[in-house]
């Protein structure tokens, strides 16, 4: 019963925050409305959420977010440097295959997203059975290093969060 | 303030969605609802016509906002007549559509039909220029749906052309409205009438442009030269009841010209100096010529009928272009007449063409069932369309000619109308003779030995219900002729009311006009 009303409690919470962000004003009225919507919208959209993503270690999420944010900033400087200062013929782009241990779709998505947002790499595609990611490096001399980096820095953490 | 004024819009607007989503799997129910709605609409329109007969221009302020700021509906004799005409036509067409099963050949016929009525009624009632645009679009988009009802290659291609042409027209409509608003700062027709008249002559360019653009927009709907091209293709390929219903669509354009270019851009407006009339007249004459020549030269029945509609629009617009109360009154009589005669012919053509192996090709073939009946009906319809007595077309033509006697364009108008009539008569005679007479000369090719068995493909005789609408339309033409006096008196009063633009302004703006 509770599950029918609250199909996704985490989602409801997120939505409350989203609403308050949208209204950009926290007042009691808004909050009540936010809660009502936070219940109603998951209820309405429940059919499109067949499963509940499970987050086992919420605290790790925070750590992960900060790491990624930091990496994004670094990545920006790196890419900017490459764009601005490296001559085109000196840029050595590479394709790298990253085999995955993750199986949760959410985790894979987050990993792929992270790869895209971080230093010089873009996740171009998954394999048909989602067991590997094809990554494009803007400039690297060491493809294996990139792959190991990804596996160690992100995949491992995601595995802890989601599985 | 009587709320009945808005009933012709709200009734179909509410009925249509109910038909669309409650009854869309049950054609019987939809038919019943559609009939009930149309009959109710006709009753309301009769009531409104009677109410408007008093001569009072009634305005209805939607949302209770005072006149130039909100949208108003205006009921006067002219709009009442147009409403009545619409509802009568709708009833006739609906019977035909149901009796011939056209409505079941695609989805949502009745919903679209009701929406179409809503759009037409709204366009006739509105007293706001932009709202006129909106209702034009409502009736157009419904007509798109009806036009392609049932599908088929040629119909879709013709429908595509129809839509494209009208979209271009709608775009121009917006340009025109924009210019008008930019020049006057208002959208209410009565307010526009006042503002345009008050405009200093040295500031005429924008309003003149707007007036001409609007005229072209309406001319597209009214199928006037040089924007009449879309009509034959559309009417020829539309489903027959829809083509018959479209008989009113060209009249919407004509109505808009009559309304807007009399009330707002009338001949008494200093900045325009009678510009619309000057240009409308040659356009109307050429339109008439094109229509008449088309009738004479048509190779197929449906284009022939379509061109006769073009011709009738030309005839009518000649009178409109004179912009005098007498001529407008004559034009209105002819408008009513040509609507029903076009409807009668298209409905009849449907009955005939669907029973012929050669379709609407003007070619002799073995006489089909009920050749005599159809021939008689065609004869009557042709008489009506060509403007021969005893049906109302002749009177309409006489009225127009009579009204044109006092105008400077008398000679050319006389020549155009009379020569046009001749070509139309000859064209119809040719077509009727080929279709109905010549076929009787065809010998049966050879008797099929197995002719005893009834051929399931053989055309069936038309039932009473299928012929009733055509009869009704023709009967209305006869009635229109017989009661020409009272009808014409009403229309005379209507055009008198129309040309009294200060009366219109006062009725709409009332005392607020000072504010």
């Amino acid at each position: 019963m509770l599950k029918r009303i609250f199909p996704h409690p985490l989602l409801s919470l997120t939505l409350v925050v989203v609403w308050l962000a949208l209204v950009n004003k926290v007042t009691p009225g808004n909050f009540v409305l936010a809660v009502l919507l936070g219940i109603a919208i998951p209820f309405l959209t429940a059919p499109y959420w067949p499963g509940r993503p499970i987050i086992k270690r919420p605290l790790r999420v925070i750590e992960y977010v900060f790491i990624v944010l930091w990496d994004i900033i670094v990545a920006n400087f790196q890419v900017a440097a490459i764009i601005l200062f490296r001559r085109n013929q000196n840029i050595r782009s590479q394709w790298v295959t990253v085999p995955l241990d993750l199986t949760s779709p959410e985790a894979i998505t987050v990993l792929a997203g992270t790869i895209t947002m971080t230093p010089g790499t873009v996740s171009a595609m998954l394999s048909a059975d989602s067991s590997a990611i094809l990554v494009h490096c803007l400039h690297t001399d060491d493809p294996e290093g990139v792959r190991d980096d990804i596996k160690k820095r992100y995949e491992w953490r995601l595995k802890e969060i989601f599985q | 303030m009587s709320h009945w004024i808005i009933a012709p819009v709200v009734l179909p607007a509410v009925l249509a969605p109910i038909i669309a989503f409650v009854m869309r799997h049950d054609i019987g129910l939809a038919r019943a609802a559609s009939f009930a709605g149309t009959i109710a609409l006709a009753a309301i329109c009769i009531g409104l016509t009677v109410a408007a007969a008093g001569g009072e221009t009634v305005s209805y302020e939607l949302g209770n906002w005072p006149a130039p700021f909100g949208i108003v509906l205006v009921l006067d004799r002219l709009s009442a007549v147009m409403l009545l005409l619409t509802s009568m036509l709708a009833l006739i067409v609906l019977v035909h559509a149901v009796a011939t099963g056209w409505d079941a050949r695609g989805r949502h016929f009745h919903a679209l039909f009701q929406f179409q009525l809503m759009g037409i009624c709204g366009a006739f009632l509105t007293g706001d220029a932009f709202n006129l645009f909106v209702f034009f679009e409502v009736l157009l988009i419904a007509s798109y749906g009806l036009m392609i009802h049932g599908g088929g290659r040629v119909r879709l291609q013709a429908g595509l052309q129809y839509v494209v042409m009208n979209l271009a027209g709608s775009t121009l409509f917006l340009f025109a409205l924009g210019t008008l608003y930019a020049a006057t700062g208002t959208l209410n027709i009565a307010d526009l009438a006042e503002k345009v008249r008050a405009l200093p002559v040295e500031d005429a360019a924008l309003v003149r442009s707007a007036a001409i653009m609007l005229m072209i927009v309406f001319a597209v709907k009214a199928a006037l030269f040089p924007v009449q091209f879309w009509l034959p293709g559309t009417y020829s390929n539309a489903p027959a009841p829809v083509a018959a219903l479209f008989a009113i669509m060209t009249k919407v354009g004509a109505y808009a010209i009559i309304r807007v270019h009399s009330v707002v851009f009338g001949p008494d407006v200093p900045v325009l100096a009678g510009l619309p009339g000057t240009w409308l007249m040659p356009a109307a004459i050429v339109t008439l010529a094109i229509g008449a020549i088309g009738v004479l030269g048509a190779r197929r029945l449906m284009p022939l009928l379509s061109f006769s509609v073009v011709g009738s629009m030309g005839t009518m617009m000649i009178a409109v272009a004179a912009f005098t109360p007498e001529a407008t009154s004559a034009a209105l009589y002819y408008l009513v007449h040509s609507t029903f005669s076009a409807a009668a012919l298209f409905l009849l053509a449907d009955l005939v063409v669907s029973r012929r192996e050669t379709g609407d090709l003007l070619k002799a073939q073995m006489p089909t069932v009920q050749n005599g009946l159809f021939a008689a009906l065609f004869f009557a319809g042709a008489i009506g369309m060509a403007g021969m007595p005893p049906l109302s077309g002749f009177l309409g033509k006489l009225l127009i000619l009579d009204a044109m006697r006092t105008t400077p364009e008398m000679t050319i108008a006389f020549v155009a109308i009379l020569v046009g009539s001749l070509l139309t008569i000859v064209g119809f005679a040719r077509a009727g003779s080929i279709l109905f007479w010549k076929s009787t000369a065809m010998e049966p090719v050879e008797i099929d030995p197995a002719a005893d068995a009834v051929d399931p493909e053989a055309p069936q005789a038309a039932g009473v219900l299928q012929v009733v609408p055509t009869f009704a339309a023709l009967a209305l033409l006869a009635g229109l002729a017989a009661f020409a006096g009272p009808v014409s008196a009403y229309l005379n009063a209507a055009s008198g009311q129309l040309f009294d633009s200060s009366g219109y302004v006062e009725a709409v703006l009332g005392q607020d006009a000072e504010g």
């Binding site: 950009n24 997203g113 171009a124 059975d129 | -």
Partner: protein, 128 residues
């Protein structure tokens, strides 16, 4: 205080501007489509991010109203940018590269645009 605020906000704005420009410059400068893909997905996200931070700070510190709805845009962008990039990359690969040009997936299945996904035992291909 005011000066600090101004410097802070200006800093974010300038950084955002620089990265935004660099991202778009990459679009022009880099010679290969896959390379160009890197530029905007990273640089401009920080560009927009910088602007958003500046905006939040501006409303908070200058206007005195607490504003955090900029976060929503950030959320959207972070959620969508990788997907967009992923799609654009696939678009490019499909048009220009063949499976032989890419490294192997090292699994049983090839890359998703060349190879059908594993069929699950239930019938997945039927009309709903």
């Amino acid at each position: 205080m005011e000066l600090v605020t101004e410097i802070l906000i200006s800093f974010f704005l300038v950084v955002a501007g620089v990265f935004g420009l660099v991202g778009s410059l990459g679009m022009v400068k880099l010679k290969d489509t896959m390379q160009r893909l890197h530029a905007p997905t990273k640089a401009t996200t920080v560009g927009v991010g910088g602007v958003l931070v500046a905006s939040m700070l501006y409303f908070l510190l200058v206007k005195g109203t607490f504003s955090f709805h900029e976060l929503l845009i950030t959320l959207f962008l972070f959620l969508t940018a990788p997907i967009s990039a992923n799609f654009i990359a696939k678009t490019f690969i499909q048009g220009h590269l063949r499976a032989e040009n890419l490294p192997a997936s090292e699994g049983e299945y090839g890359w998703s645009i060349y190879d059908d996904p594993p069929t699950v035992d239930e019938t997945t291909e039927e009309n709903a």
